[in-house]
C-alpha cells in the first residue's frame, strides 16, 4: 500500500510467491502494475504494510533496514533497467564496488575476470559515458555476479536497449546464471526474456497468477 496523503493506494495484495534456489522466475506485467514495487519488497529494499516476507529463510519483518542490508551483503546481486553505474567510476571500479563492502584479497582479480567474462576485458578503465548502453549493462551484470551472489534480481534489464543488444544481454545473463547456479528473479514486460525462465508469473491488479510458458506470447 502506498499512502499518497489523500488516499491509500493498494498496489499489491493477496499475493503468494516462493522462489527456490537455482530457479529462474520471470514476473511479467504492464507498466505501472507494481513490478518494481514487488522487486523492491522481495529484495528487502522496502517493507510491506502487511503480510510475511522471508529472504534466505529469514523473516524480513524481524529485521530493520540495516539488518536487511546485512542480509543482502554479498548474497544478492542487482541488474537495473538504467544500469545504475556510478558515472565517476571506471568499469572496473564499478564492478569492484560491492566487493569493497566485504573486501577480499583477490577482489580486483575477480572483478577483472568477470569483466572479461562479459566481454569487456579491454574496457576496464573506461568510464560509463565512454561505453554504449549494452556495454554499460554488461558492466552491471558483471557487478551483480562478482560477489558470488546466490540471488540476482533483474529489473527490466533490456528496457533501455535496442532489440539486438537486448537479445545479446539476455543471452549473457542466462549463460552466467547457468554457470554460476544462481537464483534469478526477473521483472520485465519483455516476453522473449520471460520465455527463457523456468517459471513465469503475471502481475495484474496487484495479484500474481502463474503463467504457463507456452502461454507467453511470442
Amino acid at each position: 500500500m502506498v499512502d499518497s496523503g489523500e488516499r491509500r493506494l493498494t498496489i499489491l495484495s493477496d499475493l503468494a510467491l516462493e522462489v527456490f534456489p537455482g530457479e529462474s522466475v520471470a514476473i511479467l506485467g504492464q507498466s505501472g502494475a507494481g513490478k518494481s514495487t514487488l522487486l523492491g519488497l522481495l529484495a528487502g529494499l522496502d517493507t510491506p504494510s502487511g503480510g510475511r516476507l522471508e529472504l534466505f529463510g529469514q523473516s524480513l519483518a524481524a529485521l530493520d533496514e540495516d539488518g536487511r542490508a546485512a542480509l543482502r551483503a554479498g548474497r544478492v546481486g542487482f541488474v537495473f533497467q538504467n544500469f545504475q553505474l556510478l558515472p565517476t567510476l571506471t568499469a572496473l571500479e564499478n564492478v569492484l564496488l560491492p566487493l569493497e563492502l566485504s573486501p577480499q584479497r583477490d577482489g580486483e582479480a575477480r572483478a577483472r575476470e568477470w569483466l572479461e567474462r562479459v566481454g569487456l576485458g579491454e574496457r576496464l578503465d573506461h568510464l560509463p559515458k565512454q561505453l554504449s548502453g549494452g556495454e554499460q549493462q554488461r558492466v552491471a551484470i558483471a557487478r551483480a555476479f562478482v560477489t558470488g551472489a546466490e540471488l540476482v534480481f533483474a529489473d527490466e534489464p533490456t528496457g533501455n536497449l535496442d532489440p539486438t543488444t537486448g537479445a545479446r544481454i539476455i543471452e549473457l545473463l542466462f549463460r552466467l546464471n547457468r554457470e554460476a547456479g544462481t537464483t534469478l528473479v526477473l521483472v520485465t514486460h519483455d516476453h522473449a526474456l520471460a520465455r527463457r525462465c523456468q517459471r513465469a508469473l503475471r502481475l495484474a491488479d496487484g495479484r500474481l497468477a502463474p503463467l504457463a510458458l507456452d502461454e507467453v506470447e511470442a
Binding site: 518494481s36 529484495a43 522496502d46 540495516d66 548474497r75 542487482f78 563492502l101
Partner: protein, 851 residues
C-alpha cells in the same frame, strides 16, 4: 553467510583503504576538487598567518629579552643577597651582574661626567656588542676585559681619547680598548644624557667609587628557558613590594608601534575571513557532493551496506580529503609565512625562531572543524538515503533545513573565532552580529528577488536580444527562489569578506601614510639653556621647519602622593617602577601640546592662583601604572626643594609621534624658578649641512640627535607591512574566487537541465548564452549590493572597536562592488557553462539522471 556476518566487523584498515580509494576516484568530480581547494586555502591562510604571528611573537619576546638585557632584570640600590641568587639559579636561570653609576672620567686635563656600566664575564646574555677596537666595527658577545674600558664615541670625542689611552675612573686607570657603537641592551631614552663608559666588574672595587651613600644601581640579569620564569611570580611580586625594580620579559615587551600592531590585527582578521570564505565554499561544494553521492549511497545500501558503514565510508572519505588538504595547505602556509617574513625582513633584524608545531595543529583542526561545521548537516543526508532509490529515483532524502546548516556552521566558526582571538566576548558578539546580519540579508534577498521579478515583468516584450535574455534569466532566478537566495547569501558573504579586507587595507595604509609626512622632525635638540633659547629659535625659524615649540624641561623626582611617600602610595606591583626611582622630565605649557588628547579632567586655563593647589596634567598610561587619578596630589623634589600639584587632567599621547613627550605637565609660573633647559624637535633638510654645522659651532652645549635612521626604519617598516598586508589580501581574494567557483559548480546540473529544456524548445547557443549571462549578472549585482551593505556596517564596527580608526563611508564601493560582482559572477558563470551550451540537450538533461 560468513561474508554477511563479517560485514559489521569489517576491519578498520579495510575501511580506510576503501574510503581512500573512493576519494581517489572521486577527485575526478569538480565538487570534490572545489572542496579540496577550499579546505586547502582555509588551512593555508590560517597556518600562514598563524606561523607568522607565532614566530613574530616569540621573536619579539626574544628581542625584548635582548633589550632588557635578560629575561628577568632586577634592580635596586644595594647588592643582591646570595639566597635570591640561589633561588634564581635553582629555577634554571643563568645570572649576570651589572652595576650602573655616574662618575667623572678624566684623561689628561679633560674631565667628563660619564655613566658607567660595569659588567661581568657573562655579559651580554643576548645579542652582541658592536665595538670598534681599531679594526672597524665588530660584533662581540662580551664586554671589556679587566683593566680595559670601552667608550661611547661621544665620550671619546669629549675626552679626546684614542685607543690605547689610559682613562682615570675614581682611583684606577683603565686602557681604552674599544669604542662602543651599539650595546645590545641599550634602551634609548632622554633620561640618560651622560656618555657611556663600559668597564669590568673586577675593576669596580679598586675605583673606590662604591661608598656608603653613593648612588649605585645594582642589576641582576637572569636568562633561561622560556618557562623558567613561570614559577617565580610570587617571588617577583614580593620583590616588587620591597621596592626592587623588576623587569620581566613577559610583561615589559617593547611596543611594536601602532603600525605593526594594527598589521597583526589585520592579518588575524584576514586569516579569519579566508577561513569563513573557505567555509562557505565547503558548504556549497558539499551540497553538490551529497547530491552526486545519493546514488552511490543507494547502490551501496542495495549491495548490503549498513547506515553505519555508509556514515563511516563518507566520513572517512572526507577525513582523508581534509587531511591531505590540511597537509598541502600547511605546506603552502609554511611557504607563505616565509614569504611574509621575507617581505618584512629589513624590519625584523632579529632571527626569528623556527616555526613551531602549534600553528600546524591549529591548521589541521581548522580543516576538520570547517568540514564538520560547514558540511556536516548536509552530509547526514547521505546516511538517510533509502536503498529503494535505485528503483525509484524520486526517493531523495530531504535536504537539511538551510537554517540548521547556517546555525551549525556559524557555531563552529564562532568556536574558531574564539580559539584564534582568545576572546569569547568578541567571538560571541561577532556571532550574534553575524546572525542578525544573515537574517537581514535573507529578508533583503527575498525583497531583491521580488523586485527583479517585478522589473523583468515590465521589460518591453520583444523577440531575441538582451531584453528577452534578462526576462528569461530573471524569471529563472526568481523561480528557483530558495536556491537563488542561498547563492545570493553565499556570494554576498563572499563579496563582503573580500570588500572588508580590501577596505581595511586601504584605510590602514592611508592612516599610516598620514602619520609619516615627508617632513617629520628628524632632529632632537636637548640641553638648550634659557639664555640660548631666543637665538636657537631664530636659527630654526629661518633655516628649518620648526614643527614643535621649545619645551622647558626640569628634572624632578616624584617623592610623595597625597602626602604619603610615593613608594608606599602606589600599588604594590608598581613599587619598583622606574618613575619612582629616577628623575622625571617635567615641563610647563600653556596649551595642550600638539598630538596630545585630553581623556579626563580639564586643561588648566590660566596661571595658578596663589594658595590654590597647582593643577597638573598626567599622561594616562603613567597615571594608570602608578594608580593615579584626578584629584591626587603629587609632590616632586627638584634640587632639594619640593613642589606639589593636583592632577587636573589626563592626556593620551602618541608615542610614535617623534616629538618631545612628557608624563607630567605643569602650568606656567610654577617651575620657572628651578634650573631648566629646553628641548625641541625640528626638521632639517639633508641639504642644510651648513646650518647644522652652525648650530654645533654656536651652541656647543646643545646635544643634537639625528633620528633620520630611525625614521627611515619606520618608513621601511610601513612599506614592508603594506606589502605583507597586500599578500594576505591577495590570498583572501583567491579564497573568495574559490567560493564563487564552488557555488557555481554546485548549481551546474540545475542550470544544465534548464539550458537543455530551453534548447529543446528551440533556443540557440546565442540566446542560451545571453540568458545565462543575464542570470549570473543579476545574481552578481544583487549579491554585490548586499555585500557592500554588510561591509560598510562591519568595517564601521571594526574600526571603532578594534583598529582605533575613525569610521568612514566608502561611496565608490556602492558602485564598484555590485558592478564588479555582476562582471565577476558573469565571467566565472560564463566560463563554467561554456561546455554546457555545446552539449546536446539529451546529454544535459541526462545530467539529472533522466533517461
Amino acid at each position: 553467510m560468513t561474508r554477511a556476518a563479517a560485514l559489521p566487523h569489517q576491519g578498520a584498515i579495510q575501511a580506510l583503504r576503501f574510503s581512500a580509494r573512493g576519494l581517489w576516484r572521486d577527485l575526478r568530480a569538480a565538487d570534490v576538487r572545489a572542496l579540496f581547494v577550499a579546505l586547502m586555502l582555509a588551512v593555508a591562510a590560517s597556518t600562514m598567518i598563524g606561523f607568522f604571528l607565532d614566530r613574530l611573537d616569540r621573536g619579539l619576546t626574544r628581542q625584548a629579552g635582548q633589550l632588557l638585557g635578560g629575561d628577568l632584570v632586577l634592580e635596586q640600590g644595594q647588592p643582591f643577597s646570595p639566597e635570591l641568587r640561589r633561588t634564581l639559579e635553582g629555577a634554571g636561570l643563568t645570572l649576570s651582574d651589572q652595576v650602573d653609576l655616574v662618575s667623572m672620567a678624566s684623561l689628561g686635563d679633560a674631565f667628563q661626567v660619564t655613566s658607567l656600566k660595569v659588567v661581568d664575564d657573562v655579559y651580554p646574555h643576548y645579542g652582541q656588542v658592536l665595538v670598534d677596537r681599531g679594526a672597524g666595527s665588530e660584533a662581540q658577545a662580551r664586554g671589556p676585559a679587566p683593566g680595559e674600558a670601552w667608550l661611547a664615541p661621544r665620550l671619546a670625542l669629549l675626552l679626546e681619547a684614542e685607543l690605547g689611552d689610559r682613562v682615570r675612573i675614581g682611583e684606577v686607570e683603565l686602557t681604552v680598548s674599544g669604542l662602543v657603537e651599539r650595546e645590545p641592551d641599550q634602551s634609548a631614552g632622554f633620561g640618560n644624557f651622560n656618555p657611556r663608559l663600559m668597564m669590568h666588574l673586577d675593576d669596580l672595587a679598586a675605583t673606590g667609587l662604591v661608598q656608603p651613600g653613593s648612588r649605585v644601581e645594582y642589576e641582576l640579569l637572569a636568562a633561561g628557558p622560556p618557562d623558567a620564569l613561570n614559577g617565580l611570580d610570587s617571588l617577583l611580586e614580593a620583590l616588587r613590594r620591597d621596592g626592587v625594580e623588576v623587569r620581566d620579559v613577559r610583561r615589559d615587551r617593547p611596543g611594536l608601534g601602532n603600525a605593526l600592531d594594527r598589521a597583526e590585527r589585520y592579518l588575524s582578521l584576514a586569516g579569519l575571513a579566508a577561513v569563513l570564505l573557505a567555509g562557505v565554499a565547503v558548504a556549497m561544494a558539499t551540497r553538490r557532493y551529497v547530491d552526486r553521492h545519493l546514488d552511490t549511497a543507494a547502490l551501496l545500501r542495495c549491495f548490503g551496506a549498513t547506515q553505519r558503514q555508509l556514515t563511516r565510508l563518507f566520513a572517512l572519505q572526507l577525513l582523508w580529503l581534509a587531511l591531505v588538504a590540511a597537509a598541502l595547505g600547511a605546506l603552502l602556509g609554511l611557504a607563505g609565512q616565509a614569504l611574509l617574513l621575507g617581505l618584512l625582513s629589513a624590519f625584523l633584524p632579529l632571527t626569528l625562531p623556527a616555526p613551531g608545531p602549534l600553528p600546524l595543529l591549529l591548521g589541521v583542526l581548522t580543516a576538520v572543524a570547517v568540514l564538520v561545521g560547514f558540511a556536516g548537516p548536509t552530509l547526514l543526508r547521505l546516511k538517510r538515503v533509502s536503498a529503494l532509490k535505485v528503483l525509484r529515483r524520486e526517493l531523495d532524502p530531504l535536504p537539511p533545513s538551510a537554517w540548521l546548516v547556517v546555525i551549525v556552521a556559524s557555531l563552529v566558526f564562532g568556536a574558531l573565532l574564539w580559539l584564534y582571538s582568545g576572546d569569547i566576548g568578541l567571538a560571541s558578539g561577532l556571532l550574534l552580529g553575524g546572525w542578525v546580519m544573515l537574517g537581514l540579508l535573507w529578508g533583503l534577498g527575498r525583497g531583491l528577488l521580488a523586485l527583479v521579478l517585478w522589473l523583468v515583468g515590465r521589460l518591453p516584450a520583444g523577440q531575441g536580444g538582451w531584453g528577452q535574455a534578462l526576462r528569461l534569466g530573471g524569471r529563472q532566478l526568481a523561480r528557483r527562489r530558495d536556491a537563488s537566495l542561498g547563492q545570493m547569501l553565499a556570494f554576498a558573504v563572499t563579496f563582503f569578506a573580500m570588500a572588508m579586507i580590501a577596505l581595511v587595507r586601504g584605510d590602514l595604509l592611508t592612516t599610516w601614510q598620514a602619520q609619516l609626512p615627508e617632513a617629520m622632525p628628524n632632529y632632537f635638540a636637548i640641553n638648550i639653556q634659557p639664555a640660548e633659547r631666543e637665538s636657537f629659535s631664530e636659527v630654526l625659524e629661518a633655516r628649518a621647519d620648526d614643527r614643535t615649540s621649545l619645551y622647558p624641561m626640569v628634572r624632578g623626582r616624584l617623592t610623595a602622593i597625597d602626602g604619603t611617600p610615593a613608594r608606599e602610595a602606589v600599588p604594590a606591583e608598581a613599587r619598583g617602577d622606574n618613575a619612582l626611582r629616577r628623575e622625571l622630565n617635567l615641563t610647563w605649557q600653556e596649551t595642550l601640546p600638539e598630538g596630545n588628547r585630553l581623556v579626563a579632567g580639564r586643561w588648566f586655563s590660566a596661571e595658578p592662583v596663589r594658595g590654590e593647589p597647582v593643577p597638573i596634567s598626567l599622561e594616562d598610561g603613567f597615571a594608570e601604572r602608578l594608580g593615579l587619578g584626578l584629584g591626587d596630589t603629587l609632590t616632586f623634589t627638584i634640587g632639594g626643594r619640593e613642589v606639589s600639584g593636583r592632577v587636573a587632567s589626563l592626556r593620551n599621547l602618541d608615542w610614535d609621534s617623534f616629538r618631545p613627550n612628557f608624563f607630567v605637565i605643569f602650568p606656567p609660573g610654577t617651575l620657572d624658578r628651578f634650573g631648566h633647559s629646553y628641548i625641541t624637535a625640528f626638521y632639517l633638510d639633508p641639504g642644510e649641512g651648513e646650518t647644522l654645522r652652525g648650530l654645533v659651532r654656536d651652541f656647543p652645549g646643545v646635544s643634537l640627535l639625528n633620528i633620520d635612521a630611525i625614521l627611515a626604519q619606520v618608513r621601511e617598516l610601513v612599506a614592508q607591512v603594506t606589502r605583507a598586508v597586500e599578500l594576505v589580501l591577495a590570498l583572501v581574494l583567491l579564497a573568495g574566487v574559490s567560493v564563487l567557483y564552488a557555488a557555481l559548480t554546485a548549481s551546474r546540473p540545475v542550470r544544465a537541465h534548464e539550458g537543455g529544456l530551453l534548447r529543446v524548445f528551440g533556443a540557440g547557443t546565442r540566446t542560451l548564452s545571453r540568458v545565462q549571462g543575464a542570470e549570473f549578472a543579476i545574481l552578481g549585482l544583487a549579491s554585490g549590493l548586499m555585500g557592500v551593505l554588510l561591509a560598510e556596517l562591519a568595517t564601521a564596527g571594526l574600526y571603532a572597536l578594534w583598529f582605533d580608526l575613525p569610521p568612514r563611508p566608502h561611496p565608490l564601493l556602492w558602485l564598484s562592488l555590485p558592478l564588479g560582482g555582476a562582471l565577476l559572477i558573469g565571467a566565472i558563470g560564463h566560463f563554467l557553462s561554456r561546455g554546457l551550451r555545446r552539449e546536446a540537450p539529451m546529454a544535459s538533461l541526462g545530467l539529472l539522471g533522466e533517461t
